[in-house]
């Protein structure tokens, strides 16, 4: 992969930004999530070391880096899923619109409703229908009105670009769908809770290229309404879908900046070596 290729991608993205209606009434670079001196541990081993960065509202931020660099651990800290693993703990701050997710008295359950997550492998609930999968999280936020839930399911499936494919099969099990459809079902399920931020942990790594392309297209559409953080080990994907890119190596944030800059004129030697395929 040549640097010139990314330069083209970067320029195209710049043009996209200025299309009218793309970001209505939103200053382009408002911060939604501010991570300060974040450290994440598994028992005694340090997986993420002293990461500070800002994730911008309604932009796509890609986290790249070689396997084991702490990128998955990092995004699991952003919705307090890291601490679900026995022995895992977190130090530092994650500010969502200024409020610390790790502040005292903050309920992780509440955090996860505001910061949704899509996992590496599609994981629809096997005992639930497509409809129930999407409704699962939404039902908890109060409304028991069937029509409201139905509307929400339809809206979420439309946002996840799955509605046309499943509208007549809503009561079939979620696991009856293909892998790519299952992953979009999981995205619909996460969107139904109306998260402010959507975390995606290598959402395409278990999918074929066609399903991957669909998810990437979807990410482009979703960023109009939600802030997205996506972990990927695929650099082309990061270049295609993201506005900002963070490069992680050995648990540390090496470089963070606009995707175009990272892929064309990286400041750090390590970043350049990684994106040009010299290691990783």
């Amino acid at each position: 992969m040549s640097k010139e290729g990314y330069a083209v991608e970067g320029r195209q993205r710049d043009i996209d930004f200025h299309l009218p209606g793309n970001q209505p009434e939103m200053t382009p670079d408002e911060t939604r999530l501010r991570v300060e001196e974040l450290r994440a541990y598994y028992g005694k081993s340090l997986a993420v070391n002293n990461v500070t960065l800002s994730i911008k509202t309604k932009k796509v931020t890609a986290i790249i880096g070689p396997s084991g660099c702490g990128k998955s651990t990092f995004i699991r800290c952003l919705n307090r899923m890291h601490e679900v693993t026995p022995g895992a703990r977190v130090e530092g701050k994650v500010l969502l619109d200024g409020g610390d997710l790790y502040g005292s008295g903050i309920d992780p359950v509440e955090v996860r409703r505001r910061v949704g997550m899509v996992f590496q492998k599609p994981n629809p609930f096997p005992t639930m229908s497509i409809y129930d999968n999407v409704a699962a999280g939404f039902k908890l936020n109060g409304s028991r009105d069937r029509r409201i839930i139905e509307d929400k399911v339809e809206k979420s499936l439309k946002m996840a670009a799955l509605w046309e494919e499943v509208r007549s099969d809503l009561h079939k099990p979620g696991t009856s769908l293909s892998g790519g459809q299952q992953q979009r079902l999981c995205i619909a399920r996460a969107l139904a809770v109306d998260p402010e931020v959507l975390l995606m942990d290598e959402p395409c790594s278990a999918l074929d290229p066609i399903a991957t392309a669909k998810i990437e297209e979807l990410i482009h559409e979703l960023k109009d309404s939600v802030t997205i953080v996506i972990v990927t080990h695929n650099m082309q994907q990061a270049a295609r879908v993201s506005d900002y890119t963070a490069f992680f190596y050995l648990g540390e944030l090496v470089e963070f900046g606009a995707t175009g800059d990272i892929f064309t004129t990286p400041e750090k030697r390590q970043t350049e070596d990684y994106i040009t395929g010299r290691f990783g």
Binding site: P86, R113, F119, N123, F125, P126, T127, G137, A190, V193
Partner: protein
């Protein structure tokens, strides 16, 4: 050359070693076949012998009539069938929530050491002789209430069932993929709802199997009934009074002095065996049907 020795067509030492290994494999195969044969043979012998001894004595009257006084021919075991069913149903109602609840605790709230300890205790409890369980239920329920009763029998059965249910439920919960729990938690679904909505439904088949296993085990136990349900030659639907159960009736009849009683003990054994077999088979068929949905 290497290819030749691999297929045993070599000469000399390598050929000899190949034959030696083949011989060992053959011996092992024969040994395992023998062990399997013995296991199947025992099961078939029990089934066949009970069938042979008991089946001829089974008729409508045997299943629907009350026992007659010793010495008179005829009569049946209807009261024991109903009694067993009642005692086991009540025991199941007690054991399932406790066993499953404890399994949830052990699996989902692993203050790891406490969880492991509880699991260990459950394993020990499965090994406690059932007569001891009966004595314990006697001290716990019969003595304070002042009378033998079906209820005390249910308590004794529940003690036998709880550890079985706990262990099978724990194994079932362990098989629920972490990814599903995480999917639920990441939606902002609280832990208790995740357990109720995701973990329990996903493991329901294995849970049901465990419950049936526990019921089958309890149904056949006579020893815990000796000091609890006690037995009763008459109709009784009151769990606060002594009640007849099939295994205890088999014990009484088999150790009694009358030839007619011995026949009835065989017949009752056959009925008991059939109930357990049919329950297990039906459960399996039901579960298979469900998995094809």
């Amino acid at each position: 050359m290497a290819g030749n020795t691999l297929y045993g067509a070599g000469t000399g030492a390598s050929r000899q070693h190949y034959l030696y290994r083949k011989g060992i494999e053959w011996l092992a195969w024969i040994g395992m076949l023998f062990c399997t044969g013995v296991t199947v043979f025992i099961l078939l012998m029990i089934l066949g012998y009970v069938l042979y001894q008991g089946a001829s004595y089974i008729n409508w009257e045997f299943l629907t009539a009350l026992p007659l006084p010793a010495g008179e021919t005829g009569g049946g075991i209807a009261n024991a069938l109903v009694g067993s069913a009642m005692v086991v149903v009540v025991a199941t109602l007690m054991a399932v929530p406790i066993g499953v609840g404890a399994a949830i605790f052990v699996n989902e709230f692993p203050s790891a050491q406490l969880g492991r300890f509880v699991r260990f205790l459950a394993e020990v409890l499965t090994g406690v002789p059932s007569i001891v369980v009966g004595l314990f239920a006697y001290a716990l329920v019969v003595r304070p209430l002042g009378s033998f009763s079906g209820l005390s029998g249910s308590v004794a059965y529940a003690f036998i069932m709880i550890p079985i249910i706990l262990i099978t439920a724990h194994e079932a919960f362990r098989l629920v993929p972490v990814s599903l729990r995480e999917a639920s938690l990441a939606l902002g679904i609280p832990k208790w709802r995740t357990i109720l909505w995701v973990v329990l439904p996903v493991s329901s088949r294995a849970l049901l199997t465990g419950v049936v296993l526990a019921i089958a085990r309890a149904l056949g136990e006579a020893a815990p009934m000796l000091f609890t349900a006690f037995g009763n030659p008459f109709w009784n639907l009151n769990l606060k009074k002594p009640i007849a159960t099939v295994p205890l009736l088999i014990y009484t009849y088999a150790t009694g002095p009358y030839e007619d009683w011995h026949r009835k003990a065989w017949a009752a054994s056959f009925v008991l065996l059939m109930v357990v077999l049919v329950t297990s088979v039906l459960t399996r068929v039901f579960l298979r049907g469900k998995s094809n949905e």
